[in-house]
Symmetry: C2
Subunit: 346 residues, 2 copies
């Protein structure tokens, strides 16, 4: 591998001059150096650059599960921005383990210029230590309990929960269940809080047997849905608080041959690839995904002064919308499914 010394020798200048040329400074022998670089196929040694400069040009990205389509999309957005700006992306998966997350962050602190993190819970020490060590951190999707002091890209989970509740109320449901995500995470709490808020304002209280706390995973949602079905009086609608939760619930309803939305309406949080293909097509609360990743990376680079964008807010909260498809409908009447159902369930 050619070094800067080889280039210097060939171009008849000193290594310092080559270095200056490479950093974009004006030098007299620019042409000769350019030629030498090309002929030798010179590429700077990143380890040497980073040892000298103290900067790694690498960004750590820590997510709970890259196979979750939401995080895959977010990472895609991050990758496109980081590559464009000449940063490398170090990917790490925590498998929803706070312990692994803490280890990863401690390791990464020395190896990257900044970190984008979707924390497992909102009660964590690791990110605080990170901040103390001076590594910029941007949160995505999830926040810390005292999150106000960190940069973050989030969606309006509270509003998402509210809209789901409003949608079900408008259809006439009163016996409504929710399968929430873990309450120690921001999306888990806020989606539930928004949902409850609207129900309560409408004078509907959600009894404990309908207010179920899951973990954002499919298996638990499956089990909880079976529990809902075994109630003396099952709900007429379920709000599932994440894409995997929705899958678990749909599988349970499917296995138990429950008619959606004839017997039970379902509204999910996060669209699925196959959302429009399901029968009935799935009604969901939808949010930007790739865009969140793009913004998070830009926010982080902004901290380094590598992003020209002026006045990016330190916390970005994106809007959320409902996609009404066919899995929600008015509740069944006393003598069976509401007649409106057939019309909606094409």
């Amino acid at each position: 591998m050619a070094t800067i010394h080889d280039v210097a020798a060939r171009a008849g200048v000193s290594p310092a001059t080559v270095s200056r040329f490479l950093r974009g400074q004006r030098v007299r022998s620019a042409e000769a150096i350019r030629a030498a670089v090309d002929e030798l196929g010179f590429q700077p040694n990143l380890a040497a650059q980073s040892l000298k400069s103290g900067r790694t040009r690498a960004i750590g990205v820590v997510v709970p599960d890259i196979t979750n389509p939401y995080f895959a999309a977010v990472v895609k957005g991050m990758e496109s921005v980081s590559r464009e700006r000449g940063y490398r992306l170090l990917l790490a998966n925590t498998d929803e383990s706070a312990e692994r997350e803490a280890e990863l962050l401690a390791e990464m602190a020395r190896q990257v210029d900044g970190i984008i993190l979707a924390p497992v819970t909102e009660h964590e020490e690791a990110p605080l230590e990170l901040r103390d060590s001076g590594v910029p951190v941007v949160f995505i999707d999830r926040d810390l309990a005292d999150g106000e002091s960190f940069d973050a890209v989030l969606v309006d989970n509270l509003e998402g929960g509210r809209k789901a509740a409003e949608h079900l109320l408008a259809l006439g449901h009163t016996r409504i269940a929710m399968i929430s995500g873990g309450q120690e995470s921001t999306p888990g709490r806020y989606r539930r809080a928004g949902f409850m808020e609207v129900l309560e304002a409408a004078g509907i209280e959600m009894p404990p047997e309908l207010d179920l706390i899951g973990d954002f995973r499919e298996e638990r949602a499956y089990q909880l849905t079976l529990a809902l079905l075994s109630l003396v009086e099952p709900p007429t609608a379920i709000f599932t608080a994440s894409n995997l939760t929705t899958l678990g619930t749909l599988k349970a309803l499917h296995d138990m041959r429950v008619d959606i939305p004839g017997q039970i309406s379902v509204i999910g949080f996060d669209d699925l690839d196959t959302g429009p293909l399901l029968r009935p097509a799935l009604t969901v609360v939808d949010r930007p995904m790739v865009e969140q990743g793009v913004l998070a990376m830009r926010l982080l680079l902004h901290r380094f002064g590598d992003e020209e964008t002026q006045d990016l807010p330190r916390r970005i909260v994106l809007g959320i919308k409902i996609i009404e498809r066919a899995s929600t409908a008015p509740p069944p009447g006393p003598h069976g499914p509401a007649t409106r159902r057939t019309g909606r369930n094409r």
Copy 2:
């Protein structure tokens, strides 16, 4: 940040001794050094280590699209192995662009100890140059035209194509379409070749209007499916050669109100999260995903001597199986859908 010198001073030894201790050699002052490391929270500077050793302890992973559930799963497998072994994972996305891929590989060659690559086409120069530069490369999912000389983890695409054809033949189909992936990629070619081979052996020729070449993406599959439907004599079965292809075809059939499998049977390649939830549930050719990633990473580390595993073959080809669900059934008879249909399409 504490350096090895700080630790040495505190422990009353030389930096060389600290370095030896950290590398696992026996030293007299082990206890004092351990204490100093803990007290100072010392972590070695990777840039310095890598500058000195010439090794980066980083692996480059280059995939066409991280939001494709197949690649997300593969990357998850890779990440778990690399973290376990103390390697960092650098993720890059090519967006199916051979040009971007070439750039990425050239950059990475200097920055990583090895690369795992899902190449965009089988006719590429970049990986060959990589090999010349001495960086170990392992292919995953896709191969080069002269691939025999590279390590690789693949699935038996030929067999996958064959099994899909056998399944459709066994159901009685004779007018059968396939929407292939790009023929410049190994999976695109082999899946098609296996499929055609079995049809031909059965005396069925696939006319050009049923032998459609897509690009593994959803949009093109959607358009090609519409074309199939506009034929004077549409097929009674379609084999879609990838997960996204399947989505495009299902959406087209759905939009055109085609009854699956009453009018047309569909068998896909790669299962979908929602495969069992679709109505009808989707019949697919299924293959290991996370496991492919795990094996690819182990294969690569093996090249470094970092993986104890003995005798890992240089090329691993994993088996493939069919998951029979409800989207395939016998073709409709002259007077409408086959009667068997109702029974299968629960």
